[in-house]
Amino acid sequence: MVREKITVSTRTLQWKCVESAADSKRLLYGRFILSPLMKGQADTIGIAMRRALLGEIEGTCITRAKSEKISHEYSTIMGIQESVHEILMNLKEIVLRSNLYGTCEASICVRGPGYVTAQDIILPPYVEILDNTQHIASLTEPIELVIGLQIEKNRGYLIKAPNTFQDGSYPIDPVFMPVRNANHSIHSYENGNKEILFLEIWTNGSLTPKEALYEASRNLIDLLIPFLHTKEENLNLEGNQHMVPLPPFTFYDKLAKLTKNKKKMALKSIFIDQSELPPRIYNCLKRSNIYTLLDLLNNSQEDLMKMEHFRIEDVKQILGILEKNFVIDLPKNKF
């Protein structure tokens, strides 16, 4: 009885950045607090956040390099002090920041002699290099160094066997991990009944710790959404007893049920990038400020047609995808 009295808290949870520091362009640090939490909650959130920060955040990296003159990774180019492999290792070090989806191209085109650094990379506008001083190669002769790069946003790390590319491009085993380190600690007060969660985040600069925190919590929430609708899920499973174990995309099926209930709130939290749209359509939608499914549903087909570079086939494609994944029809006209 007494216990209940104490646990009642009127204050809402609040977070605050208590410390942030930039040791270098490649090492940002931030410390955040979340309070007031009840006993035990800090631990629940803390470990989940730490794991999400370390494992769930996407990063942008150069994944492939291509150059005409190279015969293989372990050869040398006349007039360059580094071997090709060393150049590739240097390219791996480059930290990028982007709001990219999928892949894009970049290139280096430098004439020697001189040092080639990261600032010589010609990038699409939505990709940004954080540390321009990153050394790539040093040219000792007046030769032209042309490297085509492929940039990708992804999660975790990739180790690709180079056999898939016979076109003379060389994979750089990329590490898409913007968070260098994360830690959580708990401070309890009020006789151990209240807790403050401290989260420390070190990033490699492509995200600020704050953004990392945001990304991590969003990714964590995305993972938890299915649990919001336990009942429907159970029904769904009962109906599909004979089906093979559900792939991770099942939560789209659950979303289908969801839309029938007209829970537009949920639609708001579904971003269009989750609907496997082709990059071109995705970019078009994004340009006209359509981010979530709700935004999309608020537009009619005609509205969509008005957009730049948008064709009737694309609308059909969107419809197909929506129908497949969400069982939603785009309104013919605005209602």
Binding site: L54, H72, Q81, S83, I159, D173, N181, E200
Partner: protein, 1060 residues
Amino acid sequence: MSTIPGFNQIQFEGFCRFIDQGLTEELSKFPKIEDTNQEIDFELFLERYQLVEPSIKERDAVYESLTYSSELYVSARLIWKNDRRRYIQEQTILIGKIPLMTSLGAFIVNGIYRIVINQILQSPGIYYQSELNDNGISVYTGTIISDWGGRLELEIDRKTRIWVRVSRQQKLSILVLLSAMGLNIREILENVCYPELFLSFLNDKKQIGSKENAILEFYQQFACVEGDPVFSESLSKDLQKKFFQQRCELGGIGRRNMNRRLNLDIPQNNTFLLPRDILAAADRLIRIKFGMGTLDDMNHLQNKRIRSVADLLQEQFGLALVRLENMARGNIYAALKHNWTPTPQNLVNSTPLTDTYKVFFRLHPLSQVLDRTNPLTQIVHGRKLSYLGPGGLTARTATFPIRDIHPSHYGRICPIDTSEGINVGLIGSLAIHARIGRWGSLESPFYKISERSKGARMLYLSPGRDEYYMVAAGNSLALNQGIQEEQVVPARYRQEFLTIAWEQVHLRSIFSFQYFSIGASLIPFIEHNDANRALMSSNMQRQAVPLSQSEKCIVGTGLEGQAALDSGALAIAEHEGEIIYTDTDKILLSGNGDTLRIPLVMYQRSNKNTCMHQKPQVQRGKCIKKGQILAYGAATVGGELALGKNVLVAYMPWEGYNFEDAVLISERLVYEDIYTSFHIRKYEIQINQGSERVTNEIPHLEVHLLRNLDKNGIVMLGSWVETGDILVGKLTPQMVKESSYAPEDRLLRTILGMRVYTSKETCLKLPIGGRGRVIDVRWVQSSKTDETEKTESIRVYILQKREIKVGDKVAGRHGNKGIISKILPRQDMPYLQDGRPVDMVFNPLGVPSRMNVGQIFESSLGLAGGLLDRHYRIAPFDERYEQEASRKLVFSELYEASKQTVNPWIFEPESPGKSRIFDGRTGDPFEQPVIIGKPYILKLIHQVDDKIHGRSSGRYSRLTQQPLKGRAKKGGQRVGEMEVWALEGFGVAYILQEMLTYKSDHIRARQEVLGTIIFGGRIPTPEDAPESFRLFVRELRSLALELNHFLVSEKTFQLNRKEA
């Protein structure tokens, strides 16, 4: 403080001795050759010989598989003395090629680096020992060991009779030997000290009689001839040649030892065993029997000698000159017979010498392929000492005392560094400061402590000599300078450890790791380790793979720099100058008026398939000094040896994934390329130019497999190849029998009369496990110049990048080795209080029983060093400065690190070195504080990729029809005797039958099983015996034993014979 001698110096000194002295010595033995009619004289002038600088560079020799050798020219003179022509002809002639030592201390023979390791042998001389015979009575023996290793044993029995044993044969009376050597009884009795003993011996033995009888008896014993040989001159000569010249040659060292031991003054040039020696030896033996005189310790290093490169090469040179002499003789004879005019040059040619060295380097057991796994391996290999080899011991018969550490090893042979297994103790390693002195003894330096001179004087002492001095052990140096007299120090004296006053000390050791080899002295905190583990460590450091990105060790011993410098992995400026050009593969250095081109090693294969690579470290335009480092090699950073990586380690159990020395690692080690290494493999194919064809048109092969071939049929440079891909397309023509022609071929043949040639593809395919990038293709002309068939070979070099993976072996520097058992994502690894995930998790139970506590010191100090960004170089035995010095150092550094980084958890006073850490999966703290640290961990060459293997079908042994063994032959796994018991124990009869028949040597059953699997149905049960049993029966038959079984009919009692 003296500098450490160059690690390759042993080899260089040896080779220089050979060139400077050995050549002259052997050439001086070359006789003047005369023909039978004394018409022609042929002689060599030893004063005028010259070695020509080799025409090829060291590197080209490797690249083109040639021998890096120098031509030896000698002046020769031919004198005609007959009446018709009387003149003298002088010529400088080529007598052969001598392989030269390279800067690595190795030779290049046929493109392969080979090193000649030093042999350690029993010194020739006489050794007195006492042995217990079968009845438990001690017997005194004197063993005379000849220069070639032959033994002659003198033995004195209870009745003080002296016997001689020649090579473990039945014993002979010493009088027989002496008579056979040419002494008569009177001479014997006159020249011994105790003639009465000899007299009594004479009396109870049958009369020896004449010299002939003695020789006859001796010969009978020596040559084990049955029956009664008759005395003849030839028999006497034979004995002379076989026994007195070969068995009894003492050599210079032997004569010296003999003189010293027996107090004789026989001149040095008398290298054979004389009767006087035997008499003196017998006298000494009698005296020892009566308790006068001392026994010898055969295993003492003073009774050993080192046969170095110099001696081995000189010996070969001598052999070659004998062959040359025979050749010259033969040619002179032929010239006179066939009447052609000989000149010095056409009397001899270069084959005997060149061939002798070729054979020596190829086949001699002490000439080994230089192990080049990493820079350390290269230098350590040249400093090995082996008891094995010709004239030495064999691994199977060597006794325990020989393998054991001896007090005289101090400062000469490392007590730690030896191989494990059958050769333990037989292959040792030279201590850092040891050198080879005159007479092949191993010398160790000491400082002489004297009152007069302040500066310490260094002197090299041979084994045996330092025993007569009090040598301060050097394990407590914290002496108060003022009151030296009161100081008591531990010291060694005559193989004993004493504690004596400081003023009594004569010598002290010069260096704290004077008595260790290079491998052992690279172990930090070695004094805290058990010797067995230190041994493993010094062996395992040699197996470390150079990593793609090396890192200096945080905790080291200070020897890393020199190890790297002497290893030859670095490019070092030969003289001062200015860098005028640098590139990835070369550096141009100008200075002393000329330009030096220093080619760098670019991704080259070592013979252990590791990758050697040099990175230039100097800028263009910089002026450099002599000896400055121009480029770092593989596994070196900043001029220091860097074999591994400093990684964060926790000692704790983790879900059983580090049970029994398994190691759990973080994914970070994979994706950050921390333990990524390069491996270059060579694939070679011989091409018979006459008949075989290299082409890219290979019939009956998938296009996919041929995709990497260029139009000539050789794999393209830079292409990525996988297992099974064709590297070189080759067709070998093959004549096929008429009946096996395909129908269309037969049609062609009948209609057009064409002969159809079929050829078989004999392509070079990438074997299992091979994948990677083709980085080099070489077409090598075989050096063998056979006129009939020219063979060429194509070599394909494939580079493979290997990340660390489950099954790889990793090790620390304290013999703590383990296999990777699981790779965890970084968020799952245990993490420290600042959130840093640990990189490796070792089992704490691996420490106490192995007693390698040094790893704990290293890891704690490494952690402190990592945080403070400091590198520590700690000479071993720092405990001599004060008690617990290592522990104090580690704790104080940890304390400082915790203060500087404001992380109190780094040093917790209640559990120093330990810290509370958390489980990455749950965030819960572990129950106990855990030791965390940053040791230096190496990745070893034993990697799964080279070992993983499975067999579904494959070849069978010819004779037994059982599957072959070994991965290289795609062999099977043996189900041995005990495995069969296990299957029997479980009663799994069908599995057992499958193992023993279908999967093994039942030919018919295993053929049928294939068909039944394809078409379905029941696999037939094999009824008769498998092939190995049939083989057994046949082997019995060859011993005239018939093994058979019969069926006896119940009705008629008739025997039905069944063939097994």
